[in-house]
Assembly symmetry: C3
Homo-oligomer: 656 residues x 3
């Protein structure tokens, strides 16, 4: 049998010891094989500086392991103890308003603090030394939800000094910095690196290179924080995967670079909570109220799956929503069957293990209305039965691995920071643009890997670049040596990594691929529509419009009142360039065209249906409230379900 | 004659002495019997520390009293003098953003400051000693609008230290606190009470028990502040009522507990200003633009009237809006006749005295566009004639006292804090829920007392519990010994007073009354409607939905797309439980059903008409712009008006 | 030839020296005669305290001048160098939240700082001494965009001490202040001037006189800052105009008083950016998306043109938008032809010179997406061709000067502050009211000067006073001695300059002109409409309504549900008074009536067409997307265009 390994997040410290072995047995009985523990345990383990109480954790590990569970142990750095803050108040993070963010919840530490880094290494070493060889501890998580609650960036004194050192290393001479940043603008010339402040609290917008460098520095601090701990753990616990726990919808630091040398990655999947707080329009939020967006799980798996960038590692869901959560503006129940769909679609998209958050609802604390697999009184909750069903269903599923997709979509974190620093128009939002492109390619039934620009793209036939503001010469040069087809969105290559206009203007070095120059950009308000004609059809576009000159073929033209006939979509034999934020139907047409040119077959499907493959296994998921029929294919043998999918239902088949 | 005693708020310090006696005579001529003075007089009386100038106040008291007015004197603690702040800047309050709130307006003191409490006692003693036996001083007000401008809670050092002491007293041992708060969650374990901070500025949500205890502490400080002053005043001024001045729509502290041992209570009534800033939907705000909500005055009288909780005390309106105010986003004129309606409806609901704010419009200061009974040039303004009319009308009104209502509605302040701390869904708002239940019961023509849970409920036949989140074992036990009928809203009993999930989950100890367990709650966005079928009718519901199991009768079921048929309304022979936020028509049906079972007759009326009784006197008030006919009753004798009520008009009758 | 002189903003420090002479030649070739430089050059000129590097600026001046350009040199005080901030961190401004606003962008100085004023004078003197007699330097600009980024008011220690000194000078005795401010209200009595704080951070609203005096003080500091520099420059550079650079839509300080003794004034014109961030309703913003409001340029020229107030000076546009900007929420392209229209309409309204911002788009810094006349690679951008066309067109244009208009509209800055301090209703917004009155009078084809109340109004036949809250006895007395007609809006004269109610109430001393007393004001929400009948027509009104008594003729009456028949519009032989915020069509009717009585002819035109005159030259501008015909007039000879105007087109004629 195969299918997803299943597991659960567990907090032995929240419950009487008497319950631990019962819980462990019940986990095994349900069919779970993994249990994640310890991420907030520091204050329990080291109740005073250097005074350790390992006994309870030893017992918990022993109890869970002896019951047959594999343990994922977390380094507990997501919640430093009160005594540490009392000794070192300087490790507290500082918000964008300049105020210290205080003890009393979690993540109360500045990632730029070397003092905290030292303590984090110390406690990680203690954990790793004690449990690194423990036979039950079979995987590690470093910290927890790094960057959540806007903690990726802190404006502390430690950050200031660290940033100054970082700048000194990068620019060596202050005048090199002055030139690079263009401090001649608004007369901001610095005499010394120690003069440079943090880019907050300024009267008007700070220098964009100043702001961007600080984002880069902060991102590197996260990579350092995670990587240092991972290295310590790996040294003491060979053979166990060491994972970081990323958040869906988090772009404040460069996840690609933060993955370091770890074997596998994981993220936390909250399809409903993230829907509520996400950027979809209200009618879409209403439509997917109890299922989440059909692309939520797929997109994040395609992003965090390391296959995507060729390391051979695998993917975990470290926390999977099992019912209503507590932290969104409103917290609906999942539709019956949604937890099953989320689990299987994660598996289909490459997740090998899915850990539900959490075993039992907490009867205290801020998350007490966050459901678990059981209510706080121990009775099973909504998802329990669905997990049993998955355990049954996976019996007949053969082991497979996902193949690389024919299409890669580039997600470039620094471009998101550049967009925040130089927005130029509220209607341009990289997260929304990427989501629209992803939905369009999925509506065409085409598989896609969401990857960083430094990944080996040699196997891809089509590469999508929806919002890569920051020009990347190295990436473009690889594209030039490669023969994949490309689709580029507006703003691509419009800023150097030093936050300057590239020589010759946008799209910067992408001009090696497309014979086009952006002469001027304009951003437009919501409600103002531009129109584009493409092969006889007229589409709505909006939010962003570029005025370009091109020596390549103009295949789409603007048709509205302003400069009708000017180029909107340009192509040559390899590349299609969009000068505007095309709507979904226009995107589908353009991407279908590009796929066809790249020799990739499309299978258009409705938005409520998602189809994907893991090796020889085909998967179809119906997120809608209507029945959907999937076409029969020769050689198709159903392992779960059949050609007709009921609402919130799914099918799995082998294809021979 | 009876009817309301009338009075006015007056600021002799704002006017030339020459005017005082003229004003006093004019007050008497108008038919006023009370004049309230002194709440901002501290800096005038004690211009430097220990240096008193009583002469002006003596003269004012003498002048007003000699003219035939009864004086309500206020302790002047709502505005400490500048010298006190200069000497003790530490008494300034601190806002939720951690910033000191400065001198320059009013209420610039932290209620947790013992330094300020000392000064408040000192000045209250001076006032009480000097005027306690003065024959003209016939009532007292303590402070003014306590808690207004978000001053009920302050985050000062004084509050921090006071809170730590309070916690030490409450929990004795730090580990008792750790257990009670569940600090094991997110590893927040404290070593000592001195480690505990204020629950603001944390990275994520603070521990809910931490936040809730701080609300309790802050509320107790208000009770202490008011009670201490009241005790001093009462000791020196026996036989005079001592009132606190509460605000409509204020839930930041526990008003029930803050009423202490005082005989009577009062509140400030601003039907239009509070409408603008209140939570009614826009079309309702537009409908009642110039009258305020028809339930505004009734609800707040029913709440602040001490009859309601059996102390035998009475109710005052300490400030009554007489025209446009200055402080709302927009400040319309009352409809002609509205001031008359507000005054009479207050009397009908138990108010014995109504004091208008203010005698003459100020020609300076932040409230100079706030109307009074006269414009600043001394000419009568809008309300003047309406007051004359009331004075005439009350001639024929016999003295009566209001009888206890057959229905009690519970308003539990700590539950409001719990809701703010653990909201779980934006659509659940205790204030709005209570307002909807109140409107529904009033639309049924049924009288209701709005009371705290500790009141003696033995005389009530029906008890409504719309939003009592915080489980209250003592209250439930009294219910169990009583035989009144109950209607419970969703979320009731879902948290212990320690902000934990009750044993066995919601509705906690209410399960002694209804055989039902809440398995899961979900909160839903605006615009998403759930539907409930009850006795063949389908109603809209929304915002909140509970999934329950019950051994009692299911009389209403959900009928939408998600889990249709599941229980929405459950009853047994004594209790009806609503699992969702029912709309007004559904509430009316449920409450009518409950009233019928309790043997209480309903007289359905339209929303613009309000009917109530004070002893043998019947009152009808038409807030609408159309004529309304009230049914003739045998033995009905009209003292004011008749069966047909014109727009913004009223009738009073005796029933024999 | 005449027509506008043209120029450009240039930053030699941003470019290689090699480029300077090329650029200069290209400017001359294009037909530009002015180049503005230096406003952010301080850190480049004085790189360390007292260490000057003039060489580059000498060379730039020489290069540009030698090419035939006239140079406008700016004092560089808009961006103090980093070393100055390091030496004197106390010069940083403080925001309304009490936080220091830091170095890192521009305008990082407190205008109340005497330390900074000293440095500003020092650097201004250095600039003036070195370049005052330079033959190429032909005009000066002082500082840049004074008050932008909310820097007109700073809450620093320097401001506090400066304000205390200012108060001491103004009131001499603290008790005079106590009386004037009415500190008896809320017991705010001060013992000493040193007790007085800044009017921020108070618990409730501060005393309005306190807040208003601080606005007056802050405004005087700006006048001092500008005036002191201007005096220094003028002393060293006789015969050159010295300009201040004002912002459109800026009301935080009194521009009239800040103009001092300078000969000419200038402002920055961003018709699209200011549209996006302005207060027009969304459908209007959409309508004028690519042209800006047709009244934008005219209004600001009519305001900043010193003709208006009789000094004989002239008007410059110091920065003219040439394409999309970077700083608005969205940044559309101007319609083709819009830059031409903006330039000519500015000239028509009295601007003698129009300087485009900027010569070449910056390839770095926060404004790199702000277009210039060239892209950063040096190729001409959108506006380039339109400027060439203007250069051609102006060949045939004779020199003329604008005549005084027959109508004056009063814009009183202190009244705007009074409105912010005592708003009384969100629907009353002086900026919007003035814009509506301006649009109405322009729709009637009537010329208007927008002037301060201290201007000589003897030549005007009609004076419009839309929103003059602050009573001005001197102004009213001049009106009384004059025989012009007047139209007064609601709230006029409702507060004294000491923020008190005038004797006898509103409209204060205006009662010398109109026999009317405002008894009560009310403010109304959006969506709530009042109706006014005027001469058989019914108009919508709203937002504000006054209840008045009058001995003059009532020509308009309210007709809605509340007090129908009460006076809405009152007139006597000289004055019309509006008690409500009349809509555009009502305003047009009232103003046409007033104009007729004053003997001024109306020529009603559509909103997309604007017509104005400069001497014998007539100008018509079509901002709409349709063709518009202007009526032929006898003696009309077209110099540009003809009777039919295409979209975004214009005509110029002489009238004989």
């Amino acid at each position: 049998m195969s299918g997803p390994e299943l597991g659960v997040c567990y907090y032995p410290e929240h419950w009487d010891r008497a319950q631990w072995s019962e819980d462990a047995r019940a986990m095994v009985d349900l069919g779970l094989s993994w249990v994640r523990i310890g991420e907030f345990s520091w204050a329990l383990v080291e109740s005073r500086r250097g005074q350790f109480d390992w006994e309870w954790l030893d017992t918990a590990v022993e109890t869970l392991g002896a019951a047959g569970l594999r343990i994922m142990l977390c380094t507990p750095t997501a919640a430093p103890p009160r005594w540490l803050i009392a000794d070192h108040p300087e490790v507290l993070p500082v918000g964008v308003d300049g105020r210290v963010r205080d003890f009393g919840s979690r993540r109360h530490y500045c990632l730029s603090s070397d003092v905290y880094l030292g303590h984090a290494k110390r406690i990680a070493r203690h954990f790793a030394e004690r449990y690194g060889q423990n036979p039950y501890v079979r995987a590690w998580q470093i910290d927890n939800e790094i960057g959540d609650h806007d903690t990726a960036i802190s404006y502390s004194q430690a950050a200031l000094f660290g940033f100054q050192v970082w700048l000194r290393r990068r620019y060596l001479e202050i005048d090199a910095l002055n030139v690079a940043w263009g401090t001649v603008f608004w007369g901001q010339r610095y005499e010394d690196f120690s003069d440079i402040g943090l880019p907050i609290g300024t009267v008007a917008e700070p220098n964009p290179a100043h702001a961007f460098d600080f984002r880069c520095y902060s991102s590197e601090r996260i990579a350092l924080f995670l990587g240092t701990q991972a290295e310590i753990v790996r040294a003491h616990s060979p053979g166990r995967p060491v994972l970081h726990n990323f958040m869906a919808g988090s772009y404040d630091f460069d996840h690609h670079r933060s993955m370091g040398e770890v074997d596998e990655t994981g993220f936390d999947s909250y399809p409903l909570g993230n829907l509520v707080h996400g950027s979809l329009p209200e009618h879409e939020k209403s439509r997917w109220l109890r299922t989440g967006s059909p692309d939520y799980q797929g997109f994040h798996c395609d992003l965090y799956r390391r296959d995507g960038y060729g390391s051979g590692g695998r993917l975990w869901i470290l926390e999977q929503q099992p019912g209503p959560v507590n932290w969104a503006r409103h917290n609906p129940s999942p539709a019956d069957g949604a937890v099953r769909l989320w689990t299987w679609i994660a598996y289909a998209h490459g997740a090998d293990a899915v850990l539900f958050f959490r075993w039992r609802q907490a009867p205290f604390g801020p998350e007490q209305f966050h459901t678990g697999l059981h209510r706080s009184d121990g009775t099973p909750d909504q998802a329990f039965g669905e997990i049993s069903r998955i355990v049954d269903e996976r019996q007949g599923i053969p082991a497979t691995e996902r193949s690389p997709a024919p299409v890669a979509m580039i997600l470039d974190y620094p471009s998101r920071w550049a967009q925040a620093i130089l927005p130029q128009g509220q209607g341009y939002c990289g997260e929304e643009i990427t989501a629209a492109w992803y939905r369009a390619i999925r509506n065409l039934g085409i598989e896609v890997d969401v990857v960083g620009p430094s990944v080996d793209i040699s196997s891809y036939e089509l590469i999508l670049v929806p919002d890569m503001l920051v020009d990347n010469v190295e990436f473009v040069d690889r594209m030039c040596r490669h023969d994949a087809h490309l689709v580029l969105g507006p703003r691509c290559g419009s800023l150097t990594p030093g936050m300057r206009t590239p020589e010759g203007g946008a799209p910067g070095s992408f001009r090696k691929l497309v014979n086009l120059t952006v002469e001027r950009v304009e951003s437009l308000p919501d409600g103002h529509e531009e129109y584009v004609e493409l092969e006889g059809e007229t589409f709505r576009a909006g939010g962003w419009r570029e005025h370009v000159t091109t020596g390549d073929r103009v295949i789409g033209r603007f048709t509205g009142g302003f400069r009708p006939g000017s180029p909107a979509i340009v192509e040559n034999d390899r590349v299609i360039y969009l000068t505007t934020l095309a709507g979904l139907s226009c995107l589908e047409k353009v991407l279908a065209k590009a796929a066809k040119r790249a020799g990739i077959a499309s299978y258009p499907i409705s938005e409520g249906l998602r189809v994907t493959y893991r090796g020889q296994l085909g998967f179809a998921f119906n997120f809608s409230n209507e029945n959907v029929d999937i076409p029969e294919r020769p050689g198709q043998r159903f392992l779960i379900g059949g050609c007709r999918l009921g609402p919130i239902d799914m099918a799995v088949w082998t294809q021979t």
